[in-house]
Amino acid sequence: MNLIDVNDVGKSFRTYRSEWQRIGRWFGLPTRPSEENWVLRHVSFTIQKGEAIGIIGQNGAGKSTLLKIITNTLQSTEGSVAVNGRVAAILELGMGFNPDLTGRQNVLHAAGLMGFSAEEIQNAMTDIEGFAEVGEYFEQPVRTYSSGMHVRLAFAIATAYRPEILIVDEALSVGDSYFQHKSFARIREFQEQGTTLLIVAHDRAAIQSVCNRAILLEGGLIVKDAKPEEVFDFYNALIAEKENAKVETVLLESGKVKTTSGTGEAEIQSVELVNQNNEPVEVVSIGERVTLIVSTKVAESLGSLVMGFCIKDRLGQIMYGTNTWHTKQVIEEPVVGGEFQFRIEFDANLGVGSYSIAIALHDRENHLSANYEWRDLALVFNVLNSGVHLFEGCNWLQPEIEVNAI
């Protein structure tokens, strides 16, 4: 049995010529809505126990509507949703808080709203108080709280009990970084204990670090349902999509998907990583000096040309990235047919692992106004440890460690 089964779900918001027609419908009169506005259509997917799924998409793509339908606060117009397990949904933090009540009273109140009995709440009270870290403010009215305290208390209540399914809608983008670390730690802990996650976020790093699957919604339809890395690359290309742009995906031998997009006004001819002897390399030692060579050609007349690159780890998290706009090396009004070579020399101060390089050609500080070409997985290389001490992580910090007896 699937944990969540979303079957051909559609949601339309209906307008009637007169509200009386709407009321007539409740009594079975055959009135028709004058306008139907579909925000979700033909959405189907299943979720198994233990999966962690990120839902991404632009504003208005239907992400929140979908979560509300799964949470059962909104009813789908067509199709069906079956959920087998207790759902805890954090669609907004601090729902049901009463500003005049103390933290403790609000815990009772808000947890009651989630359907817990007074006894269950009392049992979890110490835990909630501990997680919220509001100190003596726990006995003060919530209106005197700072927004950080407010968020921590709300999150503590929402996650006081481990649910089978946890649904989070951008709630984690609030709060300071301390809170974000803390809340993510708790989500990971739930995940390890078997909770299934369904998260909406715009933060690529957050989704890639937690999720093992992502669903991209666009205009109320599922356009991609795959590994987060692949979906994000596709999404990135999609938001830059212009009238004559194309998005191309190619399955590589490694099983990864290479995504290329852009208008083609400027093209990437070749991407190479060479060592100090100018030999192309696929394997690099930690700290070795290497050069990334990007050759480009201008196909049509442009206002400006900027080359950007970034190095990602195997999960798609960005290790480093910049572009020639930030380094003040913009090529203004390049001639049509002109070829440019960019050489980026750097020390590979990275941890052991596999890395990929993405290259982008665009006009200004980012690729949103004009995207000439964007190529994910343009090049893949491995970093090996052949000489430095063993270490964890993705950064070679070249520490100098002194040990003194005192």
Binding site: F13, R14, K68, T73, D100, G112, L113, G115, F116
Partner: protein, 264 residues
Amino acid sequence: MGGMLRGVWQYRGFVLSSIRNDMVSRFAQSKLGGLWVILNPLSQVLIYALILSNILAAKLPGIDNKYAYAIYLMSGLLAWTLFSELVSRCLTLFIDNGNLMKKMNFPRITLPSIVIGSCVLNNALLFMAMLVIFALLGHEFNAAMLWLIPLTFCVVTLGFGVGLLLGVFNVFMRDIGQVVPIVLQVMFWFTPIVYPLDIIPSQYRDLMSFNPLYPIIDGYHQVLVYGLSPQFESIAIVLAVSLFLVALGLFIFKRAGAEMMDVL
């Protein structure tokens, strides 16, 4: 129906704590706190008593207490405040809680249950205050006052039935929210609360039979002012109509539930 009752029972802790919170938050940071529940209607009594007692006092037959008019006023207002509070709070209930209903999954029926509980509690407090004032005015407690329990039930049924229907419709047609306070005001003056029935010219008196509140208010008067039993027949009719309204309201509430979320 069964599902709704189960929902309320399952969320009883939440309903009870909400009723308490309602009290707490309404008077948070006010010096007199809960006293305002009582002071508000009582100040109304004082105003009417001061302004109208000289004009009307002579016309209250069958009672020899010189504060008879004040007692009459309070009895009527006791029923009226309960009714109007129920209607006006149910009216904006779903609009006010729109965000909560969209973001949390809980039995919706708990919201009107909280309103009923909190209104009845307020009314009980007001009644106790009135008993004290009655005693000060030399009007003793009598056994007939126990009739207030079924009478309160009638007011709650009527107020809840009307309020729930209007509250659901108000989500879709916001004009209702503007019209209802005016209608309530008209109803207040169309019901013998500040005046006795016999000052209405006799040819218009039959119009009262169209006022569903009249039999109930009359019952309050019989019980509190005169120490008699209420008139059962007319109250039974009102109660039947009220129960029908509640059933209709719950049916529509259930039917409209999904669409309500779309509009809120």
